[in-house]
């Protein structure tokens, strides 16, 4: 077990404490080129926002309050918590060439720049204007975002899963366990160890007494 744990740890990307997060995620090739292992960059101060306070999710519609596209509304396509960044679809763009090779200058595309969370504001669905949002509890006990101006609840946006699976339309494959079988309770608490229970179930009777061993 210990060896597998070690190997699993090696697979995950190890990031130093003073790592500078960019728009590429740390495990991508671009990020590894930007931040090779020995590189130290000037520290970037990120406003400490508590995880409970964070109110922007992927798929939310927000309005830009500052910058080139201020006043425009857009959907969040990516959230980078480490820098308090939010990347909107098609807003706050600069243009660059991509896929340059040899003499070919590449394709001219618009690439979005990240915006800080303080530079965007969530939109109240009732009047479609930017508003401040607070986390409150409903009568059922559910934690929801509430617009401070109108008191309307902002539902969390439904985002499609990365693997494209829609849980409601899922059909079990031949190797999948049905939900009933997966949730079926077969455990009964007993004072036997795992090995003893298996030996009992499989009918293995150990009559040999091991030789004397020493632990030190």
């Amino acid at each position: 077990m210990r060896l597998t744990a070690l190997l699993a740890m090696a697979a995950r990307v190890k990031v130093p404490p003073d790592y500078r997060y960019g728009t590429s995620r740390p495990w991508t090739v671009g990020a590894q080129r930007m931040n090779p292992p020995g590189k130290k960059r000037r520290k970037v101060f990120v406003e400490p926002i508590q995880p409970e306070e964070w109110s922007l999710f992927k798929g939310d519609t927000v309005e830009v309050l500052a910058g080139k596209d201020s006043g425009k509304q857009g959907k969040i396509s990516q959230v980078i918590r480490a820098r308090n960044w939010v990347i909107l679809e098609g807003l706050n763009t600069h243009y660059r060439y991509i896929g340059k090779s040899g003499e070919y200058r590449g394709t001219y595309i618009a690439s979005e720049s990240p915006l800080l969370v303080r530079e965007v504001a969530l939109i109240d669905p009732s009047d479609r204007k930017p508003t401040q949002v607070e986390w409150r509890f409903t009568e059922e006990g559910e934690r929801v975002r509430v617009s401070l101006r109108s008191g309307r609840i902002l539902p969390k946006p439904v985002v499609q899963r990365r693997d494209g699976i829609v849980p409601e339309q899922w059909k079990d494959g031949p190797k999948d366990t049905s939900p009933d079988d997966a949730l079926e309770k077969t455990y009964s608490a007993s004072l036997k160890t795992f090995e003893e229970e298996i030996a009992e179930a499989t009918g293995v009777v150990e009559t040999r007494a091991g030789r004397r061993t020493f632990w030190y």
Binding site: K175, T186, F194, G203, R211, F214, Y216
Partner: protein
Amino acid sequence: MAATTAGRVLSLCRQFQKGLSISTVLPLQPTKVLTSCKAQLSAFRPKFCLLHINNMGTSLAQQCRALHTSQWRRGLEAFFDETPNWGEPTVKSGAPWTAKQLRTKSSEDLHKLWYVLLKEKNMLLTVEQEAKRQRVQMPSPERLTKIERSMKRLDTIVQERENALRLLQTGQERGRPGTWRKDFFGRTFWYRFKEYPIPWYLNRRYKRKRFFTLKYVDSFIRRRIESHLHSTILKKKADLENKRKLQEKFSKLSATT
């Protein structure tokens, strides 16, 4: 019992029946016997591939007809995926087992599930290796991570139950005996005991290990302690400086807005 789990658990049971004898209440069903042959197994067809990339001009059936079935071929079917999945760019797979679901299962179920997961993992590793050999993408590599996570969680659950039983019956926090010892450099560490067939006074390699510190190491220990204290102080100072800078930058921001 659903046919899905029955099929899976039964194929497992059949393996078990070879080694141990377990009485299974579930009715036996014939598995899907793979009629296409595995040319990897024969020395004559080294160019066979799972992913249908190399055709070699001859059809699979023609290649297979040349070989005869033999005893040693059976049992290796488990290393390969189901025939409809061969050559597919993606294979659908469900969610991994969660720890909450696994906690409701009995020891026998967990034991059987472990081997089902292990066989699936071996199958996926074979596919991965074949993909590397053919220099193509493995279809749906997330299946491997799902299996690994399920197995890790299963192991965690078994450890939890063992820990609980041991604490209840003996009060011991650790399953493996150990003790705090000082090494030759004066560092205190948790030494975990090992199992030996001979006592320590007859074990020459063990006697060469030194779990004591000599007097001349004292000055180095003192320097190590000093450096540790210095680094804690530096860390505290760095934290305070960080807090101060954050206050300065972000309280100014909130003051202006």
